[in-house]
Subunit: 299 residues, 4 copies
């Protein structure tokens, strides 16, 4: 038996099979937008959304995200990419083109707290998260039946001080070649530098505070002790520096002197799940660029 | 005498004298972005910001706002506009180009409540409102000294049932050829259809409710009677339909059963002034397009 | 094995078995707080929380909520209530005392949209909703497996124009004597005046707009058509007037011209579920009083 | 002639001359509310608002704020206080009674940034800040005409490394016996421990970050460098630890990658002035208690 958890079709009239998204970053100078849009026009593409950001008109970096529609996209993508190198080289661009129809494959890592996982599953099932949740990996077995009831494979990979490197080896095998994004949905284990390097800017963590306040352990206890009037949560890409990676999204919730640590945790769960879900959504929709430990978020 | 109320220089490294903003709306089809950006590139302009919105990729409307830098903009503007007509005609565009250095001239209309006026003056004086406040017109004389202390001309134009049309005639004379935007900062008189037509989409009103809730008079009393848990304010362009014009901005504030009508008014003043100031700021920065009684706000 | 869906123990050091909540409303006059607190003191109770609200010190209504701890509460409750009548009569009070340990029994009514239901189930399972979800009643059979996986009885009661009164009769039988609160979690059928009367101020509905804006059907379409910049949701007690009952809670979410009706619906789901969950939580914690079609919410 | 800056009468039907506010903190135990309310009842007072908070029903601290009306309050206050010592001693209370009609006298300290000062003046002039602004002290002379136009004395007390102690001596003389609350409205000088001790929990500072993030100098630059998605402001009582005192109020504002440091400063000004104004309002309305470096805010 199982609840019918097939993700509902996202209701848009756009034909996703012909939709592509392009992310570009390069040193700013005149002519970039003209060159890119002229190139797309000549290819027969129709630009349906375009965002750009110039850090500084004089010699700063330029960032761009373009959504366009192109007939027979799948077949034409590689020649399109090949052709685009001419434009890209001219402006020293770093760039990528993603097909909207090629949904990103996510592995969610989780420990004992289930709220962030549940939110992602729920949004995915509701069709709000346009991705594939390929697997859930946990150092505990508690959420197996929940996850499996969504038809998603669940891997229990216990982690102890002794088995740490074997556990990561196991995680690496499970995800190898199958995963585009790792989501740490309140996963309480440290991820190794090697793993972080492999998934550079493709591991999203949710930290249960308004960073950079309350880095590290027990942020709600820290918040309670300091007597703050708002608590927060922060989704960020994971880097080697603990809670120091590029911030993707943050939000806060008003609290009062009445709220003890348990109440802060309870209220915080709501912000954590919303903030993490937004960050994951933006990532899988190719809305995020990273530059100098900050995100450019075209949302 | 008088507080040094010269607006401070807005601190940006951009050279405003070469900055222009272009607003475009036309039926969507492939090639618009390419044509516009190619045109600007050939003119030697550098696009520093670009926003676009397509209502519907198949046959919908297309809206665009571009900020670009062009050397010797002031001298070259009319030839630029002339040249652009070729592009515009090809895509049936409605379009405008504004020089950032040509600040919009505002007339603020006010009655007895001063909070919205004070906020605009304060933001203007702080350099946050990049416009010229050319005059304040009021049906009362109460705020003369306040306004004049900012070095701004104050015109007292009394309005009674009998003198209504003469008053408007007087207002028309005062503003004729001198004003780009009328701001009704809690001006409690009805503006005539003729006046509205003359300043089509150039009169901004602040309504002290979350429209379309509580249209018309005494919205805080209405809100109190209904027992809402949030109160709001709405800035909109004025059309002939009372409180029915295109909404520019709205915001709300949490209230509780403890807040009586006077308290709602007090709390509401804070939202009103913030919402109105945002709307005016967006207008003078050419961030607003109107289509079918709605605004497209590139903010 | 199944997901361990027993609601987790709410983590507080308070002993819920001795905790009571008292709700009082009466005409204001001097001595009420003294009389009530003196009474509780003499009974040996310790007041742990107290909120009050006076509409108007001169002749207005007075509302009070007191949480107190009393040893052997369950055994002593009826004598306590009996004794309190002396105090209550003196001040013409309407009043109730609830044991915190006696969790309110909820029937959730739902149609085809599951997000509000899922949120309530999730919060309940997480221990954040201190109530008993006794049953789910739906005019469709779609959510049976979801609901039953939480160990909650699911009743499919189809409703057609012809079977309307039978359906309600069936609902009445299912709930008779077993239910303290009805939650309409996007239940798309009209509830009869008779039913409303039976559950006076004990039926909570979620309306997917910021009331009183967009009463009635298709509020997101209405919101889109009007071009609002914020969308909202409203939880209210159901009265005979459609979407006209006492408002319990409201919240809003910023939207932009980019958001079409489907996007508004998607974003709205998040507000709806949060607003409804808050309202239900407040009701089951005896934080709501109703007076003249408004709520006094001690939250 | 000058703008009519007499604070408007706060529009409430309550008679402020008979209104008092009582703040109490003591170890929690049964009978406190009964004793206090019985005492007030016997004195003939009518409780119009009451808030309380128990840190922990078993052995924690108890905090209470009561607003009551008592005829001939001014004449009867000292005997009331004398009589209340019996109750207070019984429960080892720390307590105060304030007459609402006795408005607190504020000295605002300011440097070169005027936005927080202007907001306080504006709210005071609008009747929203029920206090007396007795003087403004600044280490610059820039805002003299602004302040004096409100009819408020302005004292220019320059501060240099050499004149620091003389300057503080001067400030002390200006405020001696005349001031109930010091507000540091972006006053960029360090206040000495001696001064802090003298105005224990009576100096409110606004820090332009979401504390404890970005303690110390240039918080907007720090926020920009870290790439946060929300900026904030914090009003707190000043203690010897820099930016480490009890937090009274905080709020945040969403920002994006587009906002450079100057833009953050501009947006931050709006939060700073709102947060500071709220904190000052709560203080002068006797809504704040301090315990263990945190505030209990009955708001």
């Amino acid at each position: 038996m199982s609840h019918s958890y097939e993700p509902q079709e996202i209701n848009r009239r756009e034909d996703k099979s012909i939709r592509a998204r392009m992310l570009i970053s390069c040193p700013d100078r005149a002519g970039i937008v003209a060159a890119v849009s002229q190139f797309l026009y000549e290819q027969g593409a129709n630009i349906v959304q375009s965002d750009q950001y110039t850090m500084d008109p004089e010699g700063g970096m330029f960032f761009m995200r373009i959504e366009f529609d192109l007939q027979e996209l799948e077949q034409r993508l590689s020649s399109l990419q090949e052709d685009f190198t001419r434009v890209a080289d001219r402006f020293s661009m770093r760039w990528s083109i993603f097909r909207a129809a090629r949904r990103k494959r996510i592995a969610i890592f989780v420990s004992k707290e289930d709220h962030c996982l549940v939110e992602l599953l729920w949004q995915w099932q509701a069709g709000d998260l346009d991705a594939e949740i390929s697997m859930v990996i946990s150092n505990h077995d508690d959420m197996r039946s929940l996850v499996e009831s969504f038809g998603i494979p669940y891997h229990h990979v216990p982690v102890t001080a002794e088995t740490k490197s074997e556990a990561e080896q196991k995680q690496r095998e499970l995800t190898a070649g199958k995963i585009d994004l790792i989501v740490l949905a309140r996963y309480m284990q440290i991820v190794s530098p090697k793993f972080i390097e492999q998934y550079h800017n493709r591991i999203i963590n949710i930290h249960h505070s308004f960073l950079p306040a309350f880095v590290g352990g027990k942020p709600y206890q820290q918040a309670y002790n300091r007597g703050v009037k708002l608590i927060g949560a922060t989704a960020h890409y994971v880097t080697e520096e603990l809670d120091g990676g590029p911030i993707i999204e943050q939000d806060v919730q008003r609290v009062s002197h009445r709220d003890n640590v348990n109440e802060l945790k309870r209220m915080g769960r709501h912000i954590e799940r919303i903030v993490l879900a937004r960050a994951v959504k933006w990532h899988v929709e190719d809305r995020l660029l990273v530059y100098q430990n900050k995100t450019v978020a075209f949302v």
